[in-house]
Amino acid sequence: MDLVRLVLGGLGMIGWLRRHADAFRGRGDSAPTVPPMDGALRPNTLLETARVLLRIDAPDSLVATRDGVLFSSSAGVFRLDPQSGTVASVRRFEHAVTCVASSDEVLAVGLEDGSIRLCRAGHDLPALVTLGGQRLVCPTALAFRDPTTLIVCQGSARNSPNHWKHDLMQRESSGSVWQVSITDGTSRRLAGGLAFPYGAALGNGDVVICESWRHRLLRLSDGSATPVLSDLPGYPARLVAAGDGGFWLSVFAPRSQLIEFVLGETAYRERMMRELAPEHWVAPSLSPALSFLEPMQGGALRSHGILKAWSPTRSYGLLVRLDARLQPIASFHSRADGRHHGVTSCVEIGSQILVSSKGGNAILALPAAAGDTP
């Protein structure tokens, strides 16, 4: 019996059998359970009641440069004045902007068509269109390691950034993280086979990335990727360093039992993707439900005129403050009955934290002291 077990185990059969048995019965790793929002992630309404600095369509990619705060909205990059909320256009592109990063001289802008423009005062550097010989498809996050080295996250090798819902529902894990030299265009792959890396930041000299579909943060060092924060109750987006060595993590959509369940139901998922428009899928969403054609879950039934704050929801607003060891210490929420959902990026500037609510079409301002440990 031991010999048999040894042989089987050696072939990895037990693990394979268990995974398939679990998937069949919906148990173990295939269980549609979701970690609760508790401890530092206890729900509140701080994001919902935050001051709205600017209302604009789908703001994203807030970044602090030496010229001020920049953000992107559809195909343009704009400058925002944090005090008055006035907006000035900086650059317009032919395709929608997906991510922005800035060093002192260069502004790196990732576009929907897969190219990364390197904008400089004077004339631009040549754009990046390939990574390691293959075409860039999906730039989701950019971070400058030093003025000539850019960390690029490619979310997926198959889907473009605005098809992120397709990528999740197809259960893709073809993303990768690259280190690119902007002077000569050479690139080196830091990690591959990732499930939609959506955020990158530098911490202790290592690159820390957010792997969205596996709802965790990874630290990349010496060619290996170690999880540092797992079992998040949502899908993480951008990661940005805070002043005191900690980080700000945006979570753009919540996990829910129904979506976890649908991810395990191949026939239903394929049919849904084939027959319906993405807005009507049983999938996470950046913005709160607009139309009756979107799927509804039982707890979201309006009773006595109230949509309960803890209803199951496909969109949510969540910003998490992490400490230097990447553990959550505080969080800001916009719950099921709120509108400031789909938080994709934030930036710390002066005494404020600016947060872009892509699903709520607003840029919010939180006081900086809110992020301190209580």
Binding site: L258, F261, H280, E294, P295, M296
Partner: protein, 706 residues
């Protein structure tokens, strides 16, 4: 597509839902011992020659009759929560006493037998007093009685065995008791069966039997309910003693032996039979039939093992192993029965809806969503809880149902002041006035009720005819929903589902089965009869002014149909609107010859796909929490106006869902539309542009009042 075709035929041909309905039956507990009996008969019937031959059956029935008598007594004691280990010793004592009293002392049988039975009852009384009245532990007390009575038997045997065995009882009756046969089974078996039937009758239909089960179920609760617990417990031991001595009499007739190992170990065998049958040793659960099955199994096994010439210990070993297995299976079954039932009962089926029509705001579809109802004024905001239906009388007072089972009345003309008009219970749903001004209502969970003008609540109907081949007992009503009254006074009302209680309405939606029906109540003779069955959540009912037909809505079927109950077309049903983009609820007349229908929610494409994939819905129900289930989208609702040809004339919605997310009922009265919602805390009042300001529903039904 092929998977759809396969799903459609698979779910139509295989009645999988019957599995769950069978498991929900109360007699399903007996299924396991029945199965074991079947297995035993099959196994031993093939191993042992002539097991089932008539002669062997007759022999078996003698032992079975005795065991059944004792088993009956032990079952009664166990059902009351106790245990009687002294049955073997009482059996031996009765054996000795009948031979002594009937033979040696010479009393005639008609005296001797009752005396011995009463003496057995006396020992049972001792047990009963000690356990019932003095509250001693049953196990220890009956163990002591076992030892004491065994000692008595041994002493008597030592002193008198020679005298007793010297005299035989000469009597034809005695011989008949021993060796007689009626239709191939022994007298002891006949007597045992007769007593078993009487015991079953008493336990299930007479008060003393209910008391025994109540005491076994919970002593404290039985005591609080006023049952004399001590007397009941004592009675069970007396019965056990009497039945054991009766068995001993039959044994004495059969063997006339005075061995000192009579009845030794008998209590174990009988206990095995009782537990094998499925009677719970904790008390409160069990039946005579289960013991009967257990006894038959034990007798067949013992007899077969003897005939197979196995060594002497094998019989006990086999019985012990079988007991172990039976107890293990039974305990697991008792513990997991609810879970198995919950998993097996939900049986979604394939349901393909017609293609979804557009209801996009601003489009030219007649269903185009608008915000007309978002300005409806609230009535009773915060006062009402779940007014599913509303109706107004001739004076303009507004009546509505509520989740608490009340009917509330809001006084005309401004509907600010309210009072509880009547309290019925359940959840008051559909409302209608009859010709004399009595208010009839369908009460969810209870049936069809009437509130007279003097506010007296009368039950009209809560029972209808039972469908012949339905596993579920559908003679009772679970969710009477809406009603309407025909010109001749007959009441047609809908019962939304026969498979689920009211609070599980969403599971019925996820099943997509035709679980509902429409029932006709005839007030002339008080009878109720099912008129149409197998409907998908029939909800609103509305009489067509021709007096021969009515419209009805099937909520999860997304259709409105018309049924003729009188006239040339009587019995015909046809669809009026077959492809609504939403879920229809109650239907009522309008002033323009058309009809208003409340729409409780809108079809969403993701849910429509799920309705074609029953396996997906079933796994969803079993694996994720109820609040997380994919629901029909019920946060957008409104009102649709249509005519008898199926043309949609207009529609009114509350797009934001702030005031009226689900509209379950809509009633026109004097130019206004009154809106009800089953999950709402308000009634809405909406001014219909250009509507007849004098039109009332009761005038339309019964003519203008004087």
């Amino acid at each position: 597509m092929t998977s759809d075709l396969y799903a459609k035929w698979r779910y139509r041909l295989i009645p999988y839902h019957i599995v769950g309905e069978l498991l929900a039956k109360s007699w399903i507990d007996s299924a396991i011992p029945f199965l074991i009996l079947f297995l035993v008969l099959a196994i031993f019937g093939s191993l042992v020659p002539n097991l089932l031959a008539l002669g062997n059956m007759s022999d078996l029935s003698r032992t079975a009759g005795e065991y059944l008598l004792i088993g009956l007594g032990l079952t009664i004691v166990v059902m009351a929560g106790g245990i009687d280990l002294s049955i073997g010793s009482v059996f031996a004592l009765a054996n000795l006493l009948i031979l002594a009293v009937g033979g040696f002392v010479g009393l005639p049988l008609w005296l001797a037998i009752p005396v011995v039975v009463l003496l057995g009852g006396l020992i049972g009384l001792i047990n009963g007093i000690l356990i019932g009245y003095l509250r001693l532990r049953a196990f220890l007390t009956t163990l002591v009685t076992l030892i004491v009575v065994r000692a008595v038997v041994d002493t008597l045997l030592l002193s008198y065995s020679r005298q007793i065995s010297s005299v035989d009882i000469q009597s034809a009756v005695w011989d008949f008791l021993a060796f007689g046969d009626i239709i191939g089974v022994s007298a002891s078996f006949i007597v045992a069966i007769a007593l078993a039937i009487a015991a079953h009758f008493c336990l299930t239909r007479l008060r003393p039997g209910w008391h025994i089960l109540a005491v076994g179920g919970s002593r404290r609760a039985a005591h609080n309910a006023g049952i004399d617990v001590r007397r009941t417990v004592c009675l069970t031991y007396v019965l056990s003693g009497m039945l054991s001595s009766m068995a001993g009499i039959f044994y004495a007739a059969r063997l006339a032996s005075l061995g000192n190992d009579t009845g030794v170990g008998l209590e174990i065998t009988i206990l095995t039979a009782v537990v094998l049958g499925g009677t719970s040793l904790g008390g409160g659960r069990g039946s005579v039939f289960k013991t009967f099955l257990g006894v038959i199994i034990v007798v067949i096994i013992t007899n077969s093992l003897i005939r197979l010439s196995l060594p002497s210990g094998a019989s006990s070993l086999a019985l012990g192993t079988i007991l172990l297995l039976a107890v293990a299976i039974d305990v697991r079954w008792l513990k997991n029965r609810r879970k198995v039932l919950a998993n097996a009962y939900v049986s979604p089926t394939y349901f393909a809806l017609p293609p979804l029509q557009s209801a996009a705001p601003g489009s030219d579809s007649p269903y185009a969503i608008n915000s007309a109802l978002s300005v409806a004024e609230p009535i009773g905001l915060g006062v009402v809880d779940g007014p599913e239906d509303i109706i107004l009388d001739d004076d303009g007072n507004l009546y509505c149902g509520s989740r608490d089972g009340d009917i509330l009345r809001f006084f005309a003309p401004d509907h600010q002041r309210s009072e509880i008009y009547a309290h019925i219970g359940g959840q008051t749903l559909g409302l209608a006035f009859d010709r004399d001004g009595n208010l009839l209502t369908c009460v969810g969970g209870m049936g069809l009720y009437k509130v007279t003008k003097q506010r007296e609540v009368i039950k009209l109907s809560d029972e209808t005819n039972r469908t012949l081949f339905s596993v579920i007992d559908d003679s009772r009503m679970r969710l009477a929903d809406d009603l309407d009254i025909a010109p001749d006074g007959r009441v047609f009302f809908s019962e939304a589902t026969i498979r689920y209680e009211m609070h599980d309405w969403i599971i019925d939606a996820l099943e997509g089965r035709g679980n509902g029906r429409i029932i006709c109540y005839d007030s002339r003779d008080g009878s109720s009869k099912t008129v149409i069955s197998k409907l998908q959540f029939p909800n609103g009912i509305c009489m067509v002014p021709d007096g021969e037909s009515f419209l009805f809505a099937e909520t999860w079927g997304c259709r409105i149909s018309r049924h003729w109950f009188a006239g040339a077309n009587a019995g015909r049903t046809e669809a009026v609107i077959a492809d609504l983009p939403g879920y229809p609820d109650n239907i009522n007349r309008s002033s323009r010859g058309t009809f208003w229908c409340g729409i409780i929610g809108m079809r969403a494409p993701a849910f429509d796909i799920a309705q074609r994939m029953p396996g997906f819905r079933r796994r969803m129900v079993m694996r994720i929490a109820r609040d997380e289930w994919l629901y029909p989208n019920m946060n957008t609702g409104g009102v649709v106006e249509f005519d008898l040809t199926g043309t949609v004339v207009s529609s009114l919605w509350d797009q934001g869902g702030e005031r009226h997310p689900q509209v379950t009922s809509v009633r026109e009265h004097k130019g206004y539309l009154y809106l009800g919602g089953i999950f709402n805390n308000r009634i809405g009042r909406y001014r219909i542009p250009g509507a007849d300001p004098e039109w009332t529903s009761s005038a339309s039904y019964w003519g203008a009042s004087a």
